[in-house]
């Protein structure tokens, strides 16, 4: 149990997609760092009191953060002290799902919550989310069970604690999303954009489209997309895929021909002391904002392409291969 502080800055930046450089809005991990797509992963432990501090907002509009799946989020800011995070209204109209940071507001705003349950969650913009989430203002929160780092603890290297079938050897988080580059260009240059025209033309995992997904972490050509999605495991290892959909479309993540066991949905483990309700799948459909934890144990070596089974999302500008796809390499 600790007090954990994570600092974020909202900035404008650009992401590199195959064949196109696209403006985006993202969370940066420091005053001097570039914004990232997805935002920096916030990794904490059950029992932690988590302070997510939004220091500044480079946009010409308000920004906030909501934490779907977290109970009781509180807000601290210079003027108002501590209060429960709540929707914001102006002249009777809601202007934000939660307390926001104005461009001109004095000082930072901090969101505070107790990490009560392990799991994989999103944090994302709660202000004009139909624009800001699409523009890139989302990231992942990983909450570990308490014994996660202690080799002698039964919860060691588990996603949800002992008895939940979530002990893993290799873990990979895959954040799915869809990008309408025309919308990005319009909003970045301050032009009007009708959300009813939303029509994505790129599909990403961890902010990159295939084949960039299989390039390494911190690839210098993609400074704002530091997270690769290639996965390496050995035969018989327990590979935990933590799949979460930050996009506006539903996506069906296909496990490359392998069979996985779904061990949790939206941060709730399916196996408890009372009943084991986990189940096996070859692919799973995720609605917007949903997450699933899937355990895959490869029985043989090979190359497997984890991909969106919505095959129209495996293209970059209509050309296969591309889009929401990455490779799992299983060594003997």
């Amino acid at each position: 149990m600790a007090l954990v502080v994570r600092n974020l800055w909202v900035k404008r930046g650009t992401v590199s997609l195959p064949g196109k450089t696209v403006p985006f809005w993202g969370f940066a991990p420091s005053d001097t760092a570039l914004p990232r797509l997805p935002g920096p992963t916030i990794e904490v432990t059950v029992g932690d009191m988590v302070f997510v501090v939004l220091w500044s907002n480079e946009l010409s509009e308000r920004v906030s953060i909501v934490f779907p799946g977290q109970r009781s989020v509180w807000v601290m800011s210079g003027l108002w002290g501590v209060r429960k995070a709540s929707p914001q209204y102006e002249n009777g109209r809601m202007v934000s799902l939660t307390d926001f940071l104005d461009r001109s507001a004095p000082g930072p705003i901090a969101y505070v919550f107790n990490a009560t349950r392990p799991g994989v969650y999103l944090y994302e913009s709660g202000t004009s989310p139909e624009r800001q989430v699409q523009m890139g203002l989302y990231g992942v929160i990983l909450i570990r069970p308490q014994g996660y780092s202690t080799p002698t603890d039964p919860d060691y290297k588990t996603a949800y604690g002992a008895g939940t079938g979530s002990r893993f050897d290799v873990e990979k988080t895959l954040v799915l999303a869809d990008i309408d580059t025309l919308m990005h260009e319009a909003l970045a240059s301050g032009e009007a954009y009708n959300i009813l025209d939303y029509s994505p033309d790129y599909w990403v995992m961890n902010g990159r489209s295939c084949p960039d997904t299989v390039r390494s972490d911190r690839d210098p050509a993609m400074p704002s997309q530091p997270v690769g999605s290639s996965i390496a495991a050995r035969v018989g290892q327990r590979l935990l895929l933590r799949i979460i959909n930050a996009g506006f479309q539903n996506h069906t993540l296909h496990f490359g021909g392998l069979v996985g066991r779904v061990v949790a949905g939206d941060g709730y483990p399916l196996a408890t002391r009372a009943v084991d309700a986990s189940y096996e799948k070859t692919a799973i459909t995720l609605g917007s904002g949903q997450s699933f934890d899937v355990m895959v144990t490869p029985a043989g070596p090979g190359e497997f392409y984890l991909r969106d089974r919505d095959y129209n999302h495996l293209v970059n500008r209509d050309s296969f291969p591309g889009g929401m796809m990455t490779r799992l390499d299983v060594a003997p």
């Binding site: 089974r309 209509d318 296969f320």
Partner: protein
């Protein structure tokens, strides 16, 4: 060892509104037509099977992959991704080259169940074009002569069935199909389906028998038939690239398996009842449908209020599938001028996509992803065996 031979070919689909749509499909005969969906492959748990593919398409390689089948080999080696000269991914598994190339896959199914087989090559094009089909794996102890062993997932799994039906969902964008036919650029970003299919057919063709001569490329009907109390196994397969909420009327159904895996952990039954199942792209669902509606027994016909006859209509105005009588097996009077397609006093219930724009043919209701469940007073036991509609 079982052997299945498939040929990848092109052909033309027929839609109820009179359209003819170019497509690619698998055929079971070198001289036979391409078909949508491809031939049902029926394998057996624990028995090796070989699938030989001949690719007669001239333009590009074709492959077959089936999610959930592991340890598939081609030429003695595990199948793996195939790359083009620039290192770009072409196929998820070994493929057959165009113009008559061949590939031979061998595997031994480790689990019974319902699976999809589909092309693993340029799947954004080849799967919407029609290169898909059903793979049914019988449990190792399957014996249709003994009720306790006529199961989807083996003795003692509570999956005994009296009749079984495969229902494969798909979508057709005729503009993209025409682009492939004419060699125009294939722009999947313009994907806008106009037809939604069950077993490759749009309603009302879904209700025709298997192998009707006027649908040579669409041999599988999608009509579900049974008698009261029977356990009807419906194997849903999502072969398209969209999700479809399938909804049977008459009775709720129990989902007993997904993706070819029984919903059971040890002694815990994890099956669940739903009246709508979202058939996700590339996924399968086994449902047990058992009609016992309204307390019906042979001795106790249903005391029901006569439905509004306008609501019993189907197709053209003046057509109905209503028997004219609320009693199963009893026919009654039909108003003059109304044509009844009800022959034995059977009950009909719709089974359809609950995304209602999909129960049209190019916008015209009724059509698309819709069929009927027929509950008969009695029925030939051969109805509802695979390959017979």
């Amino acid at each position: 060892m079982a052997t299945v031979n498939l040929w990848a070919k092109d052909g033309y689909l027929s839609t109820p509104d009179g359209n003819s749509v170019y497509f690619w499909g698998f055929s079971a005969e070198p001289g036979g037509p391409a078909q949508l969906p491809g031939p049902h492959i029926v394998a057996r748990e624990g028995e090796a099977i070989t699938v030989n593919l001949v690719n007669t398409l001239e333009s590009e390689p074709v492959s077959i992959s089936s999610s959930g089948q592991t340890n598939v080999t081609a030429g003695g080696r595990p199948v793996g991704p195939q790359y083009g000269p620039g290192g770009e991914l072409v196929s998820f598994v070994d493929h057959a080259e165009p113009g008559g190339g061949t590939v031979s896959y061998s595997f031994t199914p480790t689990h019974p169940g319902t699976f999809l087989y589909e092309s693993g090559t340029y799947p954004h094009k080849q799967v919407p074009m029609g290169l898909y089909g059903a793979l049914i794996v019988r449990p190792s102890d399957y014996d249709p002569a003994i009720p306790a062993y006529k199961t989807a997932y083996g003795f003692g799994t509570d999956t005994e069935f009296d009749r079984e039906y495969v229902l494969i969902t798909g979508e057709i964008d005729p503009g993209l199909h025409q682009a492939v036919e004419q060699g125009w650029p294939y722009r999947i970003s313009k994907f806008k389906p106009r037809y939604w299919t069950l077993n490759g057919r749009c309603a009302p063709d879904t209700m025709f028998h298997d192998d009707v001569p006027y649908l040579p490329c669409q041999p599988y009907g999608a009509m579900v038939m049974g008698v009261p109390g029977e356990r009807i196994l419906m194997r849903y397969i999502g072969a398209g690239i969209e999700n479809h909420p399938l909804h049977p009327h008459g009775q709720h159904a129990r989902v007993v398996a997904q993706d070819g895996r029984l919903l059971r952990n040890g002694g815990t039954d994890c099956s669940f009842k739903r009246f709508t199942v979202l058939v996700g792209a590339g996924q399968t669902y086994d449902l047990m449908y058992q009609w016992s509606g309204l307390g019906y027994t042979l001795r106790s016909p249903i005391p029901t209020t006569l439905p509004n006859r306008r609501n019993m209509g189907i197709g053209e105005a003046g057509w109905t599938m209503w028997s004219g009588s609320p009693y199963l097996g009893v026919k009654g009077d039909i108003p003059v001028g109304v044509v009844s397609f009800n022959e034995f006093g059977e009950y009909y219930f719709m089974l359809h996509s609950h995304e209602e724009p999909q129960i049209t043919n190019w916008g015209e209701f009724p059509g698309g992803m819709m069929t009927m469940i027929g509950i008969y007073p009695s029925l030939n036991p051969r109805v509802g065996t695979l390959g017979m509609g």
